[in-house]
Structures are given as structure tokens and as C-alpha cells.
Amino acid sequence: MKTIDDLKVMNSGATLKMEMTVEEIDNFLDDPDLSLADESRLISRRASVQAQINNQMLVQAHLKASVITVDYSPKDERDLDNLNTKLDKFIIQGLTVSAMLGLVPKIIDTAVSIGSSLNAHTGMPA
């Protein structure tokens, strides 16, 4: 059964993964040879990731205030573990710009699913 601490670890993991993504995007943005079109796309992706980081940090704050978790069904637990594993498999270092642009939406989707699952089991508003 998932405890508050388990959920905090998952939430922190999702946030960390996205912070690493922002860092990698910033490295691309520092490249003087980057085209303006690519820069524009990367800035847009960066804003999306940053918004999701903010969201995950709000979830984390709610988790800290939670004293109970509504029980997960075995299927819910499996789904959450799968999402967590999936997030870990996203390797962001050494990507090309286009690969990064393609990967970011997947990372955000996975993080959003994790955040929604956490919110739904702590009695906190989504």
C-alpha cells in the first residue's frame, strides 16, 4: 500500500526529471548556432515544462499537509508504478533538438498523470 512518503518520492522524482529537462533545454538555448525557429520551439516547450513543475510543486505542498491517503486499488498502484518507471526511462541527456522537442510532451503527459493520481488519493482538490 502506498504511503504519503512513497507518494512524495514519486512526486519529487517527477519534478526532478522535469527540472533536468529544463536544464537541458537551457543548454540548447545557450548554443549560438541554434536557429531562431528552434529557439522559439524550445522556449515554448520550456514554458510548458516549467508550468508542470509548478503544478507538481503544488501537489507536493498538498502532500505535506495530508495526513491520510485514500487506499489505492491494486490496479491503481500498478498504473502509478508503471508511470514512474516510464518516467525513469526518459533519457534526456545527449538528445538532439528535435528529439528533445518530441520527448518533452511525453514527459509532461506522464508527470501530469502521476500528479492527478496523487491528488485523487489524498483528498485534495485537483
Binding site: L36, S40, M57, L58, A61, A65
Partner: protein
């Protein structure tokens, strides 16, 4: 005989009243313990809530700083794209003319640097604990703790055995109530009996006399309808 039975009833009721007082004291004592445990839980909850408010405030502060940074990035990209578009257009219009002037590019960069500085200044020079501004208007959770303490104190006072004077005052009130209810019962029975007698009586004069007696009894009964006051 009637007086003896009345005394026995009064004694039994008095004893049961004492038992109820004892029970109420124990109940209040137990409730006070439960409330103390609840107070501990509330303390932990409030601490967690306060920490989460601090975390939320830091998140909002960080989000605000990121918003400024993002807007600067977007503006830089927009201005660079606009400059490139202008140069391409001018070159297309006059292929043999020089369109890019270093001084103009420097001017554009300078204008952007000024904007960047203005936008970022507030964010970079803000206080370390600027996030606290986001929690300034929040309700004070300590009020809830104080209310709980007051409730706990009231229950603890209730759980303490009453003083002799309080007991005597309570016993006096109890006796008054017993007497009042007894009188109401007695008068009610007498009125019912008189009503039956009036219905059976055929002599008009006797009916009037009985009617007068019934009115007297009903008047007496009215005096006992109000409960005994604590004073």
C-alpha cells in the same frame, strides 16, 4: 402514609440525580481526554498546513520569477526574428544595397538589454524571504488551537466535583422541581375528578359550587406551570 411515600420518591430521585451528576463529571473528564488527543492531532495538522503554505508561497514566488525569465526569452526571440525578417525583406527589395549596420544591431541589442534589466531587476533584487508576501493574508490557524483549548478547559472544569454550595443549590432546585411536579399531578387529578362530578350533578346550585372549586384549582395549577428558577 402519603407523606412517607413522597419522601421515599424524593430520596430515590435525589440519589439518582447524584448518580447522574457523577456520570456527567466522568463523561466530561473522558471528553476532555479525547479533546486533548484531538488537540495534539490538530497541532500536527496545523504544523503541516503551515509548512505547506510556506512551500506553496515559495512555489508561487518561483513561478513568478520563471514567468519573468520566460517573457524575456520570448521577447528576445521575437525581436531577433523581427530583425532577421526586416533584413531579409530589405535585401530582397534592394539586393545591391547594404542592409545590416553594426550600429543599428548594437542599438537593438542595447534596447533589449534595457528591457531585460527592467524585467529581471525586480526578480533578481527581491528579498530572500519575498515568498512570505504570498502568505500574508492567510487566516491565523492558531485561533483554532485557542478555541480547542477553551473547550478543553470548560470540560475539565465540568469534570471537577462541584462545591458543597453548588451541590446544595442543585439539591434545592431539585426539591423545588419535585414539589412542583407533584402539585401539578395532584391538582390535575383533583380537577379531573371534579369535572366528572360536575357532569353527574343534576342540582344547578351544587353544579355552580363545584364549578367554582374547579376554577380555583385551575388557577392554583397555573402557578406551578413555570419551572423553578436557578436563583
Amino acid at each position: 402514609m402519603k407523606v412517607g411515600v413522597g419522601c421515599l420518591w424524593a430520596a430515590a430521585l435525589l440519589l439518582s440525580s447524584c448518580g447522574e451528576t457523577k456520570f456527567a463529571e466522568q463523561y466530561a473528564s473522558r471528553m476532555s481526554e479525547v479533546l486533548k488527543s484531538y488537540r495534539d492531532q490538530v497541532d500536527a495538522k496545523i504544523l503541516a498546513e503551515q509548512q505547506s503554505y510556506v512551500d506553496l508561497a515559495k512555489t508561487y514566488d518561483q513561478a513568478n520569477a520563471e514567468r519573468v525569465r520566460n517573457s524575456v526569452l520570448v521577447e528576445r526571440n521575437r525581436r531577433a526574428t523581427a530583425t532577421v525578417d526586416r533584413l531579409v525583406r530589405e535585401k530582397a527589395a534592394a539586393p545591391n544595397t547594404r542592409v545590416a549596420w553594426i550600429s543599428q544591431i548594437h542599438g537593438d541589442i542595447g534596447a533589449f538589454a534595457e528591457l531585460d534589466f527592467e524585467q529581471s531587476q525586480a526578480s533578481l533584487s527581491r528579498e530572500v524571504d519575498a515568498y512570505k508576501g504570498f502568505i500574508a493574508g492567510l487566516a491565523d490557524l492558531e485561533q483554532e488551537q485557542r478555541n480547542l483549548d477553551n473547550l478543553k478547559d470548560s470540560l475539565e472544569a465540568l469534570a471537577k466535583p462541584k462545591s458543597v454550595i453548588a451541590r446544595l443549590r442543585g439539591a434545592g432546585e431539585f426539591g423545588c422541581e419535585v414539589n412542583r411536579n407533584f402539585q401539578l399531578l395532584d391538582l390535575g387529578q383533583k380537577i379531573t375528578a371534579l369535572s366528572a362530578k360536575i357532569q353527574q350533578e343534576t342540582d344547578e346550585d351544587k353544579r355552580k359550587s363545584l364549578g367554582k372549586q374547579k376554577l380555583d384549582l385551575e388557577s392554583q395549577k397555573k402557578n406551578f406551570t413555570a419551572p423553578c428558577s436557578g436563583s
